[in-house]
Amino acid sequence: MGVPERDHRRAARGTLAEVFTGFMLNTWLAATVVAVVAGVLGFFIVLRGAAFIAHAVPNGAFAGAAAASLLGLSTLLGLGTFAVGGALGISWLSRRGRQDVVTALALVVMLGLGSLFLSLSREYAAEIFSLLFGDVVGVNRAELPPILGLGLVCVIATLLLFRPLTLSAVMPEAGEARGVRASRMELSFVLLVALATTMTVPIVGAFLMFSLMVAPAAAARSLTARPGIAMGLAVGIALIIIWLAIALAYVCAWPIGFFVGALGAGSYGLARGWDYYHLRGPNRRQLAEGPVG
């Protein structure tokens, strides 16, 4: 896991000049990969209106980490199992029920298991805190290769599926007519979220990953309706947010999750304001809400 005790982080409090030295380099690298993945996936999360799934899969997967620590297995394995299991469960059950209800139930089941594992395993509260809220200053060199590998797989898979995913999100009927099965796209989308989750939760935590996926992409969507540009903007905004958040967290020793949350909401507010003042006109609403009919 490599999550340091919380006191270490306070001890690591320093000036901006030190922020690029030593172990912090790993943090910058890992955070950059996370932000790119979050931006790319976030675009589809906003397009599909799937914020609940983006919240449920990382959040529920933390139970897997708790199970892994109870059984003495690798955290990544536990996270992956629960993330993929949750994703499959949601897409299987939502064929016969409403998706938001099924997502809520799947999330709650995973969290319930997590609370049981935690109560059985005498885990330190600090560890749980960092799994949920993230502790990005705890990345060590050995963790970097799997993060980079999974991140690359995630981004490449998303870009390969870019056209069918966009089509089935925006115009499901037209997609079906062209042989793009909406249910299959749904499944691959949820699995991509699960993959990204496995990679990012140990580094940035479940809550932070969620903020980083939703807020930048939502801001980007307010600024442009063009898919490619929106995705690029989402990645850019996510990068700026995480870099700023790391620097701020390093300097004043407050948790990074707070800065990501605040900066994310701020960027969304700014984008909405910009949208409101600069795009007044007949097509303003259409641009703001996207091309969905």
């Binding site: 799937a50 209800v101 509260a125 939502a218 605040a262």
Partner: protein, 316 residues
């Protein structure tokens, strides 16, 4: 306190009852408080939950609970009762969600996501400050996962009062709420104040969620909100009956969970009870899965009746 020795009366009832209910279950005052509070919370959550499911606002319901983490930890920081933290933050969040994302399901989903992200950031900060200022990192566990056995008995009247307010709002708005949930456009055409009704509903949702966040924890209160309602709507399509059934299922699940959690003190690995919230979730999910089975077999009979669910507005 939870481990009072069995009193004489129990041996008369018999070993069987004793082994089901555990020694001293009903004499223990934390258990009494837990049963009272659990009942109130289950009824309120069940009733409000039916509308949450019908309106497709499960995400809002869950987000309000998660945001309660910020409220709970903020209250802990200020030294006031957690309940007020939960209530205040839920009301503020409900207002904000309605402000930036009214209307269609997709924009509401997004608005909920943004508010949730910002709120979780605040929660991270408050929890951090809690742990650094008072060195009780267990606080974050209590806020997240709740503890129905440690509720202060003095809070019971307040919890009852808030529950009544929440339930009352929903029942007063019942007809308008049902109408605007099933067909928003028709309701507008009939001069139902849809926006106002929606806000009234969000307030009662915020209250219901705060109460359950208090008892079974912020991250699991969704179980009591969505679970019984989803089960009830599988059993009946009649709205009034669904409210009643959801409340009943919620209460039954809560009681069984409290009893099981009390008994689990003697289960492996021993010396520590299993969490109530785990039993709540496990029971509700099992029930939901069981209810899926007849729905498939008797699909023509059950699922295709003219239904609340079928008549709902389309959307993700």
């Amino acid at each position: 306190m939870l481990m009072r020795p069995p009193i004489q009366a129990w041996s008369e009832v018999g070993d069987l009852m004793g082994s089901i209910f555990g020694p001293g279950l009903f004499q223990s005052s934390p258990v009494q408080v837990a049963l009272i509070v659990g009942t109130v919370v289950a009824v309120v959550s069940g009733v409000v939950g039916v509308f949450t499911v019908v309106r497709g606002q499960s995400f809002s319901g869950h987000a309000l609970a998660d945001l309660g983490t910020a409220g709970g930890s903020g209250a802990f920081l200020l030294g006031v009762s957690q309940l007020w933290g939960f209530v205040v933050i839920a009301a503020v969040a409900a207002g904000t969600i309605d402000l930036i994302g009214p209307g269609r399901a997709r924009s509401r989903d997004l608005a909920t996501g943004i508010v949730l992200g910002a709120g979780l950031g605040l929660a991270a900060l408050f929890l951090y400050l809690d742990t650094t200022s008072s060195n009780t990192s267990g606080a974050s566990m209590t806020i997240l996962f709740g503890s129905i056995f440690t509720i202060d008995g003095g809070l019971v009247p307040i919890i009852l009062g808030l529950g009544v307010v929440s339930l009352g709002t929903v029942l007063i708005l019942y007809r308008m709420l049902l109408f605007s949930s099933l067909s928003s456009d028709m309701a507008v055409a009939r001069a139902v104040p849809v926006r106002l009704v929606g806000i009234g509903y969000l307030v009662s949702l915020a209250l219901a969620v705060s109460l359950s966040a208090m008892t079974i924890g912020a991250v699991l209160s969704t179980a009591l909100l969505i679970g019984p309602a989803a089960c009830a709507l599988r059993l009946t399509k009649h709205p009034g009956l669904a409210l009643l059934l959801a409340a009943l299922i919620g209460v039954a699940v809560t009681w069984v969970s409290i009893v099981l959690a009390y008994d689990s003190f003697y289960w492996p690995p021993g010396g520590r009870g299993w969490p109530v919230s785990f039993f709540v979730v496990a029971l509700i999910f099992t029930l939901y899965l069981l209810l899926q089975l007849p729905a498939r077999r008797w699909a023509s009979k059950w699922a295709s009746r003219s239904a609340i669910i079928d008549a709902r507005p389309a959307g993700p």
